[in-house]
Symmetry: C2
Subunit: 210 residues, 2 copies
């Protein structure tokens, strides 16, 4: 807290320049923070991280080229003590869970206020984890128990684009009966009425993307 303490060096990663601009202007108004880099996707994020070694990284999840989860995994693989805060629009609870599993120390929604952003940056920089209670409870409610398996997600993605069980079976090289078994399991886990409902639930929770 002394005025000789080095500032917190921050990297922002988001594909919306305007959003980065907002974060930048908030950070630059803080005496104890300095923005040292920006990136528009996961790939740039990794490069920029290697180059600048920021104290705290603010990472969006939904980006072209390379998404935030993969970027977090890559960065934490190389720099295990990297402090990363996820800053994203809603996007479902599974994303949040994945990000935290990948080693994110904080999770923020873009609808949150400046104050919360700054508090989270300072907390994470100090080595503390920081996840808003709304997010934490939502993660606890879903995700943990009834997570879809890899295979089920593959199947559900095909269903989302209008494939029939028979077609899915053909492209995956398995029996139609197997696809039906996966569908039964998917609908049970998501408490969906039918395949369409399963798709919309999965989209809402961030289990599949469009």
């Amino acid at each position: 807290m002394s005025d000789t303490a080095p500032p917190i060096r921050i990297l922002t990663v988001d594909d919306h320049p305007m959003l980065r601009e907002g974060v930048a202007s908030v950070i630059e108004a803080q005496p104890d923070m300095v923005l040292i880099g920006e990136a528009a996707n996961g790939r740039e994020a990794i490069e920029s991280f290697r180059q600048h070694r920021p104290d705290v990284t603010l990472m969006d999840l939904q980006m072209p080229d390379m998404n935030g989860i993969d970027a977090i995994n890559a960065i934490r693989g190389e720099f295990p003590d990297a402090r990363i805060v996820v800053l994203t629009t809603y996007k479902g609870d599974v994303q949040a869970l994945r990000a935290l599993k990948a080693g994110a120390m904080g999770y923020l929604l873009k609808s949150m206020l400046r104050k919360e952003l700054l508090e989270t940056i300072r907390a994470v920089h100090a080595g503390r984890r920081r996840v808003p209670p709304e997010i934490a409870t939502e993660i606890a409610e879903h995700a943990a128990d009834d997570a879809l398996t890899e295979r089920e997600i593959v199947v559900l993605k095909r269903v989302a684009v209008g494939s029939a069980n028979k077609q899915i079976a053909a492209t995956l090289g398995i029996s139609e009966e197997t696809v039906k078994a996966h569908m039964k399991s998917i609908m049970a886990k998501l408490s969906a009425n039918d395949r369409t409902h399963a798709v919309t639930i999965a989209l809402n929770r961030g289990i599949i993307e469009m």
Copy 2:
């Protein structure tokens, strides 16, 4: 262009404070623009418009409480010469069409650059329409011809949450055969393989929301 010309007075409407911050910092760096208000949803936008009468309004579409389309309609109803620029994340082409029909003069994506934002603000302020070619062509491709009717959208929304035709018929007080007829029409218009596909296409195009 003389330095005695009054500045362009701007109102920003978006539910993400961080995004508003970004727009604000860009605008405040311009000598010929001034930010005179912010709003976080459609309702606040209308209030703020009445109070400040901005020259140009930057409006997000997807907001809680009251969405951007409704806000544009309300504002243009009261102030027919209001100049409104839509500034949104992707969100499908139907949204863009609706916004332009509602009287928006410009359409911008949040992934666009500062330069384009400023150019659009100046163009719209000068009374010119300004829509990026990508958006314009996408609107031309879809929307116009095979738009869903009100009734079809109602039906499709129910399908999205897992209702069977029979249930939809019951809640709408019509025959199941009628629901099936609507579904046939919907799938034909959207070129969907099945009901699930119809839902994901409609979500992508912004025809229905989640």
